[in-house]
Amino acid sequence: MAYLKIFRYDPSGGVEPHFKRYELPPEKGMTILEALFWILENKDPSLAFRCSCREAVCGSCAVHINGEYRLACKTQVDPLGEEITIRPLTHLPIFKDLVVDMKPFFDQYEKIKPYLMPKEEPPESKEYFQSVKDRKKIDSLVDCILCGACYGSCPVAMGDPDYLGPHALLKALRFVQDTRDGAKTERLAIVATEHGVFRCHTIFNCQKVCPKDLDPTGAIAKLKMKSIGFKLKSMFGFARSAG
């Protein structure tokens, strides 16, 4: 027999933040998302949570489950033990219960210009070509589903609302490494700031929680090295032109 302890809060309905305990029916292979639906249908129709695809592709259902940020649809009830505590994502304003306002999260994402900025027109005005080898450079980086687990787990995001966050920085590397992209300098200038890659303290929480097993910490490290390399090169270039 498992119990779900769910964070409940309704700022507009006058419900103060508290935890409510629900008993779950014994069912093998039940996911947390299914459990939430079961509660919604059988116990408490006022429960609010977000979901869409139910198969770890859309990134809507990231919540804090028993000490770790995870996707509700990708986490089973059984291995988590008797009592399972569910909280909404941290560092984002709460709308209701487990539903948070993702606007700050996506505002950070937009800051890194998450679209291709090619230097020239495509050949024969059709499409941009990319070799298999070049495509491999952005492998796995494109897998990010922007669920917000990393942003919730990042202690830096707690104090600094301007911090770009692991999600935006990982996506920034995805475009920096894309051979079709032509705005590397501009992209590095966006991320290589006090509130960008240099705010990262290499805490590794984002890597730990990522439901897609990506490595935002490593992506940020790569961006740090790329900006240092760029800086050194530009300093060297400056010295040569001056001399």
Partner: protein
């Protein structure tokens, strides 16, 4: 910036992310703050009246009591933890070893234990105002 909010927020982060990453980050930060304060206290003790032997000696004698010698072992521990964990972060960043950070932490812990074993062996006699050779003789005598 509200310092209470900052401390409360940090506590919440540790509570919600009980990972080795968070723990090492927290310890790194606390040891760093401690060492920064120690540095300034240390400078005041050492660099005040450097030409006056009497004043220098009486001030240094005040911080070389048995209690301070015991605290010094802790100080060395804080220094070496901060140093080794700093190297771990640096290595992870510069050599793209972010996936190996847990292994690196165990290496840090092992080196830390070795250094602290040595540090305790050479520093503990000072707490009792004994020489290491004296202690070796006493241990030898017991055998």
């Amino acid at each position: 910036m509200n310092i209470f909010k900052a401390i409360g927020g940090t506590y919440n982060e540790v509570r919600l992310n009980p990972n080795v990453g968070t723990w090492s980050f927290l310890l790194h930060r606390l040891s760093g703050i401690l060492l920064a304060f120690y540095l300034f206290m240390h400078l005041i003790v050492i660099a005040t009246s450097p030409g006056n032997a009497g004043a220098f000696d009486s001030r240094l004698a005040a911080v070389q009591t048995r209690l301070f010698h015991l605290l010094e072992i802790g100080l060395v521990g804080v220094i070496f933890f901060h140093m080794l964990n700093g190297l771990r972060i640096l290595v992870a960043d510069f050599f793209y070893l972010t996936r190996q950070h847990q292994k690196l932490l165990w290496i840090v812990v092992i080196i830390f234990i070795i250094i602290m074993a040595y540090a305790t062996a050479v520093m503990l006699p000072k707490v009792f105002h004994r020489e290491v050779t004296e202690v070796a003789q006493i241990v030898g005598g017991l055998r």
